[in-house]
Amino acid sequence: MDKFSTHTGTALPLRRSNVDTDQIIPAVYLKRVTKTGFEDGLFAAWRNDPSFVLNQPQYAGASILVPGPDFGTGSSREHAVWALQNYGFKVVIGSRFADIFRGNSGKAGLVVGVVDQKIIEELWDFIEEHPSAPLTVDLVERQITAEGFQADFEIDYYTRWRLLEGLDDIGLTLRSADLIDQFEQTRPAFKPKTLPARVAS
């Protein structure tokens, strides 16, 4: 995973709450076996509507998404994160996210920052007034800044550290392989195993 420290880009205000992962990418788009090519399915149900914010020319090329509260609820599909990344988003700033979505983002390298809904409202107003104004998201300082705008965001300590260092979670865990071995020695014998397969009599 690439290291992330700061990102500068324009932002897109998504004034909707409760955007679940079925809205971010509907199930029919989940058939691919790769992590790429999901951009077509992003917000698919709304994409045909010319007034949908993603279709508005002033926001073309935006890389920072600013949705309403409870973004990413519902299905655990990481395809939602890939679709956002495939489309070009590097950062999502919102006031409330579903746990699984936030977890998936952290693993896949999409930065998810949390701020108060009041700040989101201010940010929406700011972006709509200055759609081409670049915003800088600084993960080290946990700050979003633009000319005439500044706010702190929250991200959990561990995820931030991993993103800053660009660390692969699996590699990190495998450093504790001996602890996993030891733990396995203590597991009770009655715990179930899937193999060898047993069938109902």
Partner: protein, 465 residues
């Protein structure tokens, strides 16, 4: 101070704990399906890593599979590739798989319990948000993303921050015609879709204790619909009786050792939860949704609410959007809403008890001319069991379609989908926009309401027949 049920199970799985870091949890059972796993297996291949514990891993095909002509190759080539990819990965990495046509194929959350692999005190994960279903056995069970699937495949562990704890106390006797589904729909309507965020929830109280395992699974299944990390219930004699004798249940001395341990899995009397919610089950009635999230529900006897009466502005806006999508008007009686399709199935209500309950209502009656009813058993074995009881005949004679096992119309991915504008009464768990097919409209209901609705053609309870 005492510990809660979830804290006990959690503590028993901590491989590594350090200040400022998430705990590293050991995973006892990892369930895998075709949609959220291909990229994870790919990651393993690229890094040259094996599956650490194939013997704690189980794969099945459910989301992207058809429920008709399952003896034929899957018609959609992209779906066929995805399913074939899982088969290839399972063969390459030594993972047990239950493919279409196999006796133990079915929805991932139905086959775990059915095989006796889901047991009290386990940690269970799956790349699917309804994994909380397994919490009904007193397991910590939660959905994960594909990166985490890869992590578990490679290490059999997962770094996890310890969630807060919540108790949902449900007391009182359920009125006739009111089911586990109605409890959980009423709960979500009360607390909202974000009410459980950050918590592992323990459902407890006399009402829960009186439920069958099927009913308990229905409730735990929908934990994610109000944002909870996981939902669980203390194992008791009902749980033990359900597990005993299943293919992977412990036997002999191991059974005794297991039960002795399982009996310790309850919240201590002096345990303190971070939050508690009370619900009086005796006041409940059949519950149905009117909107596009599972929290937008009312009793069947009520009317479509007026968004203007909502105090919270965000709720008001969401309700207006939902009514527009659902093509409903405030004040319209829920019972007056006509449906085109009734879907009986899914990991929420696709178990044998659900099919029996619906069959009892349907028996000797006819599905309305204006309605198509799909009955989709949650697993191949549920289907067989139902057929051995003659339930398939009851459904078919009533005019319903009897299908093969899978997720089917719960999500708009396989061939079973709603057409744009079509309206369904569905026993599944999500009424999101387009969830059951682009432009489709979903009302979440219990199996009893689904069956009665199929007969009348509009949202109904068995008492209306």
């Amino acid at each position: 101070m005492g510990r809660t049920l979830s804290e006990k199970v959690w503590d028993d799985h901590v491989v590594r704990a350090a200040e400022g870091e998430p705990d590293l949890l050991y995973i006892d059972l990892h369930l895998v399906h075709e949609v959220t796993s291909p990229q994870a297996f790919d990651g393993l291949r690229q890094a040259g890593r094996p599956v650490r514990r194939p013997d704690l891993t189980l794969a099945t095909e459910d989301h992207n599979t058809p429920t008709l002509n399952i003896d034929q190759p899957i018609a959609d080539p992209v779906s066929r590739t995805q399913v074939q990819t899982l088969r290839n990965n399972a063969a390459e990495f030594g993972v047990r798989i239950h493919s279409l046509g196999d006796l133990d194929q079915g929805i991932v959350h139905i086959i775990g319990p059915q095989l006796g692999l889901t047991q009290p005190g386990l940690t269970v994960v799956c790349g699917d948000s309804h994994t909380a279903t397994h919490g009904a056995f007193g397991a910590i069970a939660f959905g994960i993303g594909t990166s985490e699937v890869e992590h578990v495949l490679a290490t059999q562990t997962l770094p996890q921050a310890r969630p807060k704890t919540m108790a949902v106390n449900v007391h009182g006797e359920l009125p006739v015609g009111v089911t586990a589904k109605d409890i959980v729909l009423a709960l979500i309507a009360k607390v909202g879709t974000g009410g459980g965020q950050g918590y592992i929830v323990e459902y407890r109280g006399s009402t829960i204790e009186a439920l069958s395992m099927e009913g308990r699974m229905t409730i735990c299944n929908m934990s994610i619909e109000w944002g909870a990390k996981a939902g669980m219930m203390a194992p008791d004699e009902t749980t033990f009786a359900y597990v005993k004798g299943r293919p992977h249940a412990p036997e002999g001395a191991e059974w005794d050792a297991a039960v002795e341990y399982w009996k310790t899995l309850r919240s201590d009397d002096d345990a303190v939860f971070d939050a508690e919610i009370d619900l009086d089950a005796s006041q409940l009635s059949p519950f149905v949704t009117w909107g596009t999230n599972p929290g937008q529900g009312v009793p069947l006897a009520a009317s479509v609410p007026d968004p203007e009466t909502f105090a919270d502005e965000a709720d008001r806006t969401a309700a207006k959007k939902a009514l527009e999508y659902m093509a409903l008007t405030p004040g319209q009686k829920m019972r007056d809403i006509n449906v085109d399709t009734v879907f009986l199935g899914s990991c929420t209500n696709g178990r044998i008890e659900d099919l029996r309950a619906a069959a009892e209502v349907i028996q000797g009656r006819q599905v309305a001319d204006t309605v198509r009813m799909l009955v989709v058993p949650g697993s191949a074995r549920v289907r067989l069991q139902a057929e051995s009881e003659g339930l398939d005949i009851i459904f078919k004679e009533a005019g319903a379609e009897w299908r093969a096992a899978g997720c089917s119309m719960c999500l708009g991915m396989n061939p079973d989908q709603l057409a744009p504008g079509e309206r369904a009464a569905s026993t599944s768990n999500r009424n999101f926009e387009g969830r059951q097919g682009k432009g489709g409209r979903t009302h979440l209901v219990s199996p009893l309401v689904a069956a009665a609705t199929a007969v009348t053609g509009h949202l109904s309870a068995p008492a209306d027949l």
